[in-house]
């Protein structure tokens, strides 16, 4: 079984009044470790639902989701948060940091959630932040950071628990072109060097050159757009 992310014929339905909405329509995709794929598509096409199902935030109505070889689509809610904590790293849109924690504590918080912070966890977090060019900002709070620095902190936070899957939700939403390129190339670099299976949902077509594959989402259907 694959060590990355694998979705087999996954569908998700919502009931809206009497109507049944198909948010995901038999989506099958496989992302190997070290592979960085992009999912593009208009808003309302089901990108967010796709990411939520891949990230163990939402259970699919049909189909199977495997993360790091584990079938997660049938797990109860309690174990889903454990999967999110250990196996999935989320890079969310800008300013999704905890406002009252400094850069280092943002990472240590994730360690706290999974138990206690050991000395080596602390050292690893500091090393990670230094690699991402935040060595001088360890004690800064989110309000003191630029948009790019915030996103780099978010990347570090996604990586700190050494997950097998990285999911990025519009990571460049509030960045200018230069910073957007910086952030996505950084994600790409980290994904390759650490061997993570990564999916980025974006509507920013300029950034697709960093990705190995590009999928297009339309009306809940996922199709390969470019290899």
């Amino acid at each position: 079984m694959s060590r990355g992310l694998r979705m087999i014929s996954v569908s998700k339905f919502y009931n809206e009044g009497a109507e049944r909405i198909t948010a995901l329509d038999r989506v099958s995709v496989s992302v190997e470790p070290g592979e960085f794929v992009a999912v593009v598509g208009p808003s309302g096409s089901g990108k967010s639902t796709f990411l939520s199902v891949a990230g163990a935030l939402l259970k699919p109505s049909e189909g199977e989701v495997h993360v790091n070889g584990k079938l997660i689509s049938s797990l109860p809610d309690k174990q889903l948060s454990e999967i999110r904590l250990r196996e999935v790293g989320f890079i969310l849109q800008a300013s999704n940091l905890v406002p009252y924690l400094n850069v280092l504590d943002q990472l240590l918080l994730v360690k706290k959630m999974s138990g206690s912070v050991r000395a080596e966890d602390r050292a690893f977090a500091i090393k990670l932040l230094e690699e991402l060019g935040l060595g001088g900002k360890l004690n800064s709070y989110p309000e003191q950071l630029s948009g790019g620095e915030k996103q780099r902190t978010a990347i570090a936070r996604a990586l700190v628990n050494d997950p097998s899957v990285i999911l990025a939700d519009e990571p460049t939403a509030s960045l200018d072109t230069k910073r957007a390129h910086e952030v996505v190339s950084l994600i790409s670099h980290e994904v390759k060097s650490r061997g993570k299976a990564a999916i980025m949902v974006t509507h920013d077509e300029r950034l697709l050159s960093y990705c190995d594959k590009v999928y297009r989402m339309e009306d809940g259907k996922l199709s390969l757009a470019q290899e």
Binding site: K47, S48, L51, S52, G55, L57, L58, K78, S81, E82, R84, L85, R86, V88, G89, F90, L92, Q93, A94, S95, N96, V98, P99, Y100, L101, D105, L108, L109, V110, K112, M113, S114, Y141, R157, A158, N161, D169, E170, A173, S174
Partner: protein, 373 residues
């Protein structure tokens, strides 16, 4: 604790303000309980200090000394009841003390004249001078607040509206009844004072107001059946029977009760609003893997820290206030009571924080996805 503490350090002003409100409430709770306790001590100290377990009143007197009249002749029968270890008579009448050779502008001091058997278990220990003696009927032991009015051991005072004079044999401390100083006299002397008018004893032989019993396992029902016309109650019921006592302590208790409810709501509402404001953050933390328990602990430990610090400051302020209070103020803060009320405040705050915890549990981690701020 990690999240709770980091956040409090980061948003100091916010937490300082709610902390100040909490401190003021705690302060008020402790001051009120101190005053309440002081007042009820003044009202019933003599009763509370007495080493008696049960009190026999006249039937229909509703455990009130003033309404009860019994004959001491009952004592033999009472002493023979099962589990009764000792019996002793008691009588109370309110009067005022007048300096012997004082003029009309001389200050009168309100006193409660309490008749007891000299040497019985009802007689309090003197802190100065000598105790009561059956040979010296007009010698009394009086509460030391009389000293503030200039009375010393050996002084003689007259009772207002009576020809009787009493001499101070010794002083006792913390003995008050209905907020006024207790003056203990031998029971025979008390009868002379209380039933000076002919017929006021209603023909009762050896009249007393009540008979105090010692004995932990006394069965009051058995006594009531054995001796018709009597009503035996516990000492605490007798304290409640003191005129005005129930009403007074009821008022204070009601105020305290309201304060507890107010404290619960202030803390509860503050953290609820606060939690609502932070629901996005909680959503993000849930998305990156925080379990409900982790977040609930953060909220509860924050309430705990805030409450604990505020209560401690409130206690310190209360003792500070007590130190500068005027002497006449009936303020009596017991450590037990302070601890009990502190725990009640703390528990109430924690319970009220559960509303916020419930909100946190319901936050959907999906909130974190697909939104731009």
């Amino acid at each position: 604790m990690f999240l709770a503490w980091k956040e409090m350090r980061h948003s100091k002003i916010r937490f300082l303000m709610i902390g100040i409100i909490y401190v003021l409430i705690a302060w008020l709770v402790f001051i009120l309980s101190g005053l309440g306790n002081g007042l009820s001590t003044l009202a019933a100290a003599t009763f509370k200090n007495m080493d008696a377990d049960y009190v026999v009143f006249e039937k229909g007197s509703k455990a009130s000394m003033g309404k009860s009249l019994l004959s001491w002749d009952l004592s033999e029968e009472l002493a023979n009841m099962p589990n009764v270890q000792a019996v002793s008579p008691m009588g109370i009448s309110i009067s005022s003390a007048l300096r012997e050779n004082g003029g009309s502008d001389e200050e009168k001091v309100d006193i409660a004249i309490i008749g007891i058997e000299p040497g019985s278990f009802l007689e309090p220990d003197v802190v100065e001078g000598e105790g009561l003696s059956a040979e010296r009927l007009t010698y009394a032991i009086v509460n030391d607040t009389m000293k503030d009015h200039g009375y010393r051991v050996g002084d003689t005072f007259q009772l207002d509206g009576s020809t009787e004079k009493l001499t101070i044999a010794g002083f006792v401390t913390n003995e008050t009844y209905n907020h006024i100083a207790s003056v203990f006299v031998p029971i025979e002397e008390w009868r002379k004072i209380a039933f000076a008018a002919p017929g006021s004893d209603k023909g009762v032989n050896n009249p007393v107001n009540a008979i105090m019993l010692q004995g932990k396992d006394i069965d009051p029902k058995a006594i009531n059946e054995q001796l018709p016309g009597t009503d035996t109650v516990t000492r605490s019921a007798a304290v409640m029977g003191i005129s005005g006592y129930k009403e007074e302590s009821g008022t204070i208790l009601m105020m305290l009760g309201f304060l507890f409810v107010i404290a619960a709501f202030i803390i509860g509402v503050f953290f609820y609003v606060f939690t609502m404001q932070k629901s996005n953050q909680f959503g993000i933390m849930k998305a990156i893997g925080a379990k409900n328990g982790f977040l609930a602990k953060a909220v509860i430990s924050q309430v705990f820290l805030l409450s604990l610090v505020s209560i401690i400051i409130g206690v310190l302020l209360t003792y500070g206030t007590a130190a500068v209070m005027p002497k006449g103020m009936p303020f009596n803060l017991e450590v037990n009571l302070v601890i009990a009320y502190s725990i009640i405040l703390l528990v109430i705050s924690l319970i009220s924080s559960l509303v916020s915890v419930r909100t946190v549990l319901k936050i959907d981690p999906l909130k974190a996805l697909g939104r731009v701020e």
